[in-house]
């Protein structure tokens, strides 16, 4: 079949040269114990990479801007006609389809503006931000051929998924945190400490507002991580980051449509976006955590499913 036989047998001719190299120049001993790059270093590198990406920065900038824009817009409208109700403020009910605003007169307060902005943006823009990060994390890296660099270092695929998941988590946390912080600052500038009122009619202290907003950010991060895990699963299966964003967008739209069909109400508890309305409970006093806990649990279920599919795809995929 080949001419290999006689030729290969002569390989010994170079043995002398092969055995000769200067032993001191040979790299540090390969220790029989496994050595791995510290995970903290990988995470730092990943986070630095994420926040150097112009696209990430542009979207985060937009997320900071939106609460400011809505706050100012509502404020101007209210100044024009103080008593006139504002039908579509940022405090509008999520998914209520033109339902009554949470607070008519308080849309610019440092409590309602950040929470309302978060709820509105959680419906589409925040999930898409996370999907974009997840799409870049695996599919985008793969399309650049850059994933290979880490696989060859080597970074095991399990650790790679861990690093990528933490990267997406950081994006989710920062995005949700920026929306709320921007809303909070805008609210304080526009309305001071006026209107820090719960839906149950109690006035809240600044501390009471802050811990509620912190819970909102934490909860939103868990919710976004569920989206991110599903996005990572798609991301591990394709080389096109846009496909990840489109997939997540499609999934969200289908879920929301299914949620509008009463005949499918047995299915609704399985749909991720059905958790979103429970964020409203943070405006009640005392806060009713049942819905939030249920939503977080649902998100964790999605997280487990998404990450195990992503792991399976990543380990069987060619690098």
């Amino acid at each position: 079949m080949t001419t290999q036989g006689p030729v290969a047998a002569r390989g010994a001719a170079v043995q002398g040269r092969a055995a000769a190299p200067d032993a001191d120049a040979v790299p540090p001993e390969a220790s029989p114990v496994r050595r791995r790059a510290p995970i903290g270093r990988l995470l730092r590198a990943e986070v630095r990479w994420i926040f150097r990406r112009p696209r990430t920065l542009a979207v985060l900038g937009l997320l900071v801007l939106l609460p400011v824009i809505t706050g100012v817009a509502v404020d101007l409208t209210l100044d024009g006609a103080t008593a006139a109700p504002v039908d579509a403020g940022p405090g509008g009910a999520p998914g209520a389809g033109g339902g009554p605003p949470i607070f008519v007169t308080m849309a610019t307060s440092a409590f309602v503006l950040p929470l309302g902005s978060l709820m509105t943006l959680l419906m589409l823009l925040l999930p898409l931000t996370v999907a974009m990060a997840a799409g870049d994390a695996l599919a985008g890296e793969q399309s650049h051929g850059a994933l290979r660099g880490w696989l060859l270092a080597p970074v095991s695929r399990g650790r790679l998924l861990l690093v990528k998941t933490v990267g997406v988590l950081v994006v989710a946390l920062v995005a949700a945190g920026l929306v709320v912080t921007s809303g909070l600052v805008t609210g304080f500038l526009l309305a001071g400490t006026d209107g820090l009122v719960s839906m149950s009619g109690t006035e809240l202290s600044v501390g009471g507002v802050l811990w509620r907003l912190a819970v909102a950010v934490a909860w939103a991060t868990i919710y976004l991580m569920a989206v991110g895990a599903v996005a990572l699963a798609i991301s591990a299966s394709t080389e096109h980051p846009m496909l990840v964003v489109v997939g997540v967008l499609g999934g969200l739209i289908v879920s929301v449509v299914l949620m509008q069909i009463p005949a499918l109400d047995w299915l609704h508890p399985y749909l991720l976006p059905s958790s979103l309305t429970s964020l409203v409970d943070l405006i009640r006093d005392p806060v009713s955590f049942d819905g939030l806990v249920e939503g977080a649990f649902r998100a964790v279920c999605y997280l487990v499913i998404g990450l195990s599919v992503a792991y399976a795809r990543l380990t069987t995929r060619d690098g």
């Binding site: 001419t3 290999q4 290969a8 040979v26 029989p32 730092r44 630095r48 990479w49 990406r53 290979r148």
Partner: protein, 337 residues
């Protein structure tokens, strides 16, 4: 030696003649959706050698390299890298292996230096304090120190290729695998790569370099593996491979035509060449050739043994199996034999 370094539990890999091997495969086979890309490859890369992996595009070079490095799971066969089984021992072996596979993969919005820092962070053999130094040294080594702060997107093709090379050299390695390292490089860059390979070899580093350019391999390698259509058609030391062609005697003579006639009369294969004749000495001793010529009255100015060019050998070897296949993708079904 290999085993002592890479882990005592692993039996030392040696070929039949007792040479320590930096890489070895047995019956390596890869099938992509019914298409055989690599079939029954028994590769042997001796320690300390510079092995050129030669073959036309689509001959299975890159697939073989990707399997060696654990990027692709083989359909069948065994792989040992630095004496340890792959991909099972990837986390112990790969830190000592530098690789540039399928062109450089970097992020356009980061500078060359930032790209390397990102890769260096994942190198298990680098401590946190060594990172910056290792990155600078690697950039220096490939001549990119001046362009380190420029965005990767603004790099020329040659600079991108150099940065890829730098990533393979971030850590002192025991094996460096370079897939088409001179792609896109100008002659000066090519020269630079040759210098780096020579340097690596001088430090006892084994180098596996793939190329479709014969001259490249002939100029830099001690060993050659020739792949065609997913099959190893030849491998061994470069010298042996060159000599495995028909030995030729070049006789410089002003009476070329009569010399050829005289030799053919004595059933010695010969053909006319500028300034002389080329004589096949597979079956005839050089002394007999000279004697025949002198008897025939041809003036012999000079006679010397000629080495066949690797190009001859390459063409000959690949023709043994079939027509040299040109620019074929490994996924093309035509490759199935």
């Amino acid at each position: 030696m290999t085993a002592a370094r890479a882990g005592a539990a692993v039996p030392e890999a040696r070929n039949g003649s007792g040479t320590a091997l930096a890489a070895r495969t047995r019956g390596l086979r890869k099938v992509y959706r019914g298409t055989v890309a690599v079939d029954g490859v028994d590769l042997e890369v001796p320690e300390g050698a510079v092995v050129g992996m030669l073959g036309p595009n689509g001959s299975g070079k890159t697939t073989t390299i990707r399997m060696l490095l654990g990027l692709v799971e083989p359909t069948e066969g065994e792989i040992e890298l630095l004496g340890m089984p792959m991909p099972r021992s990837a986390d112990r072996v790969l830190p000592h292996v530098g690789a540039l596979v399928e062109g450089p993969g970097f992020h356009p919005f980061l500078s060359g230096r930032e790209n390397l820092q990102r890769l260096a962070a994942a190198e298990p053999l680098l401590s946190g304090r060594e990172l910056d130094g290792a990155v600078s040294a690697a950039l220096e080594r490939v001549g990119l120190a001046d362009a380190a702060r420029r965005k990767y997107r603004a790099y020329s093709l040659g600079m991108k290729q150099r940065l890829g090379l730098a990533s393979a050299l971030l850590v002192p390695r025991r094996l460096v695998v370079l897939d088409e390292p001179t792609n896109g490089l100008d002659p000066a860059g090519t020269q630079e790569v040759r210098r780096i390979i020579a340097e690596l070899q001088a430090n006892g580093v084994t180098v596996l370099v793939s190329s479709h350019l014969l001259a490249e391999v002939e100029a830099t390698c001690t060993h050659v593996v020739v792949l065609n259509q997913g099959v190893v058609v030849a491998q061994g030391a470069l010298d042996d491979l060159l000599e495995s062609g028909s030995p030729t005697l070049f006789v410089s003579t002003p009476d070329g035509a009569s010399a050829v006639d005289a030799l053919r009369d004595h059933r010695i294969p010969a053909r006319l060449a500028p300034d002389g004749v080329r004589v096949d000495i597979t079956t005839t001793a050089p002394a007999t050739v000279i004697e025949t010529l002198v008897r025939a009255g041809a003036r012999v100015d000079e006679a010397r043994r000629e080495r066949a060019g690797l190009e001859d050998a390459f063409a000959r070897l690949t023709h043994d199996v079939g027509e040299l296949v040109g620019e074929l993708d490994p996924d093309e079904p035509e490759l199935v034999r």
